[in-house]
Amino acid sequence: MELTRRDVLAALGAAGAAGAVGAGALTLSQRDNTGNPVGDHEVATLVAVAGVVYPSEVEGVETFVREYSVARFADRPEYAAGVADAVAALDEYTRTWHDAAFVGLDANAREETLSGMEVDIADPVPEGDHRERVRYYLVNELLYALFSTPTGGELAGIENPQGHPGGTTSYQRGPQ
């Protein structure tokens, strides 16, 4: 299933950043100049993490995550700092095993690294230890974005998922 621009807008709506959608026109490097802690490397890392945590049926992940990230973190400096910290924590862990940052790994090694860090069984805690913050700011951040969009919802059989203002007709409809 293909993630589209509509899904980007939906995910931003659920994340309270709908007002920042116009910022989609800005490129990431312009954002960098404004001091946003989520820069190219952080977004690339989010894309890499999405490659592991998103189901393989999902297509268009890179564009979705990039466009979403630009607006999502623009007006939330504290949250953006949390994301940047989590990326740094993930990279630090990665470097104890590999000679590269997380984005420098191949797909298998990325999955092994996240599992090795035990992010899968970690609780999402914004003020927690490294793996808990990776879970909160990277993994759950991405899953929240995906499953509050119509495309993400449809993967699971719900075209109007929680967090998405999908109107009041879908609840009345029977299975198609």
Binding site: G16, D123, L143, G157, I158, N160, Q162, G166, Q172
Partner: protein, 531 residues
């Protein structure tokens, strides 16, 4: 933002609390030209933050209390009865009050609720009848923008239709309707305080599905609507101004001032001609008890000794499971079908039951994704397995008034201002347990007919409160057996009015807020007549 927290020099009316009760009274009286000051303990929340609150409500890591910032020393409480009472899950402090979090189901009480003792020997009669409240109910439905239909054969008589059309039934309702018909249960629509069409400048429901605890679109009614309207009509609202005590004159006949604290640590006195206590069913009795004086050593307006007594809530009973077909749950966060067939009581063997057919049974895919210990395809398989076939029937069950259930002051624990915290003493009696069991039987019969694999039941042991705080300043004609009269005015103090579920002598099994709104409109009339 409110920067001036000084008292108003001249006020006709001082309202304590900015939930629906206080908001509606303030709005009504301000619209009639009176000078109104509202003192609200909690903050004014920013509307623009609602989506972030929604995110907090969905994502694990943020406790449920964090959505509306409940908890801490300000909201400390004790719960020392047979049953634990999770008080801070059951209320919100701030402009809008608990309706910021509420579900928004709004139905009228039945005629029998007002004459329960006469008809069944249980509890006590109200000093007002359904007919007395009927015009106020109609106005309250208008005020809250209720979406409803007149298809409920069990509902009390009404003259006008609801102001907005009802939300149509859900897909799962249609599955339930068939099963219910087969077992002789009649179903009907649900009156909802959420907009099925846009109204004034508010948007119709857009299906975020997170109504409880936060509606980002504002389609769900909350009391900020009345508070803001009151302000446009000249009322003053002071937030973060918890009232510490009420003071009275030498004769002990009139309240003279509400003493409130402000964030900078100072105390102020707001004087007024009339006082309206609208702090909810727990803080109303608490504030009266905190306002003890020489004349009122057991608490203000407490000559009867009943302030805080007869605390009631509605109990939840429910059952659910899965079908072997899709049920399409969790698209919206509210219900569209109920049955009030088991509401009225024939005798004292059981209390009222209100059946609810849920549109949000089972987990939502989003919540499942965020809380698993897997990801990628394994996660998707788990979600597909777990979502999609759940069904559930809930119920609200009546609890009769018992004197031993009460809100009292805790002898040792104090809040951030050094005031004794409320102690909720709550238990569930045998009649209520029987009623819960009966509700479970009906629920199982329906689910079995539906072919459901029943996987859970909330019965008399697992039951919990529905967060409707009632009974603690009961209404009656006799000053020895009640706290306020039929005009919602305390028997003891001539200018103190309490428009709240705390005045309900019995609680029925209908969600209380439409009745609170009706009583608030009635109380506003009486206050206006006096000034």
């Amino acid at each position: 933002m409110q920067s001036n927290r000084e008292p108003s020099e001249r006020a006709d009316v001082c309202v304590v609390g900015a939930g629906p009760a206080g908001g509606i009274v303030a709005d009504k009286l301000a619209s009639e030209g009176y000078d109104v000051v509202v003192l609200e303990a909690g903050p004014r929340f920013d509307d623009d933050e609602r989506e972030q609150r929604m995110e907090r409500s969905i994502r694990p890591a943020h406790g449920p209390h964090s959505v509306w910032e409940m908890g801490g020393e300000r909201d400390a409480y004790a719960s020392t009865g047979d049953r634990h009472y999770p008080l801070n899950a059951a209320r919100v402090k701030g402009v809008g009050g608990s309706t910021l979090h509420w579900q928004g189901m709004v139905m009228r009480l039945h005629e029998q609720d007002f004459t329960l003792e006469s008809e069944t020997g249980v509890g006590t009669d109200w000093p007002v009848s359904y007919d007395d409240l009927r015009p106020y109910y109609a106005d309250a439905e208008e005020e809250l923008g209720v979406a409803g239909a007149s298809d409920n054969p069990f509902a009390p008589p009404r003259k006008q239709p609801h102001p907005l059309p009802a939300f149509p039934p859900s897909y799962s309702d249609s599955l339930f309707a068939e099963a219910c018909e087969a077992v002789g249960v009649t179903t009907h629509s649900v009156p909802n305080a959420r907009l099925s069409e846009s109204r004034n400048d508010r948007s119709a429901c857009v299906g975020y599905g997170t109504c409880q605890p936060v509606c980002p679109s504002g389609a769900k009614y909350d009391a900020t609507i009345h508070v803001e309207q009151a302000e446009q009509r000249g009322a003053r609202v002071v937030d973060r101004a918890p009232v510490q005590r009420l003071e009275h004159d030498d004769a002990g006949e009139r309240v003279t001032a509400a003493v409130y604290a402000t964030p900078d640590g100072t105390e102020h006195r707001q004087e007024a001609r009339e006082f309206v206590l609208a702090a909810g069913g727990v803080e109303n009795p608490r504030l009266l008890l905190l306002s003890e004086s020489e004349q009122y050593p057991d608490g203000l307006a407490n000559s009867s000794g009943l302030v805080g007594r007869y605390f009631m809530d509605h109990l939840f009973a429910g059952a659910g499971g899965t079908l072997d077909e899709p049920t399409r749950q969790n698209h919206v966060g509210f219900n569209t079908t109920e049955s009030h067939q088991f509401y009225d009581r024939e005798d004292d063997s059981r209390g009222a039951i209100k059946l609810e057919f849920l549109n949000y049974a089972g987990p939502s895919p989003l919540e499942m994704a965020l809380s698993g210990d897997d990801w990628g395809d394994a996660m998707l398989d788990r979600i597909r397995d777990g979502y999609g076939t759940h069904v559930a029937v809930g119920a609200l069950v009546e609890q009769p008034p018992k004197k031993e259930n009460q809100i009292r002051l805790h002898p040792e624990r104090t809040d951030d201002h050094g005031n004794p915290v409320p102690d909720v003493v709550w238990s569930v009696d045998d009649q209520t347990r029987r009623t819960i069991k009966r509700a479970n039987e009906i629920q199982h019969e329906i689910l079995t007919e539906l072919g459901a694999d029943i996987q859970w039941t909330v019965g008399p042991d697992a039951t919990g409160p529905a967060f409707h705080h009632m009974g603690t300043t009961r209404m009656g004609d006799n000053p020895e057996t009640s706290v306020v009269d039929a005009q919602l005015r305390t028997h003891d103090l001539a200018n103190l009015t309490i428009p709240s579920s705390s005045v309900f002598p019995t609680g029925g099994a209908m969600n209380p807020t439409l009745t609170i709104a009706a009583l608030a409109l009635k109380a506003a009339n009486h206050v206006a007549e006096r000034i």
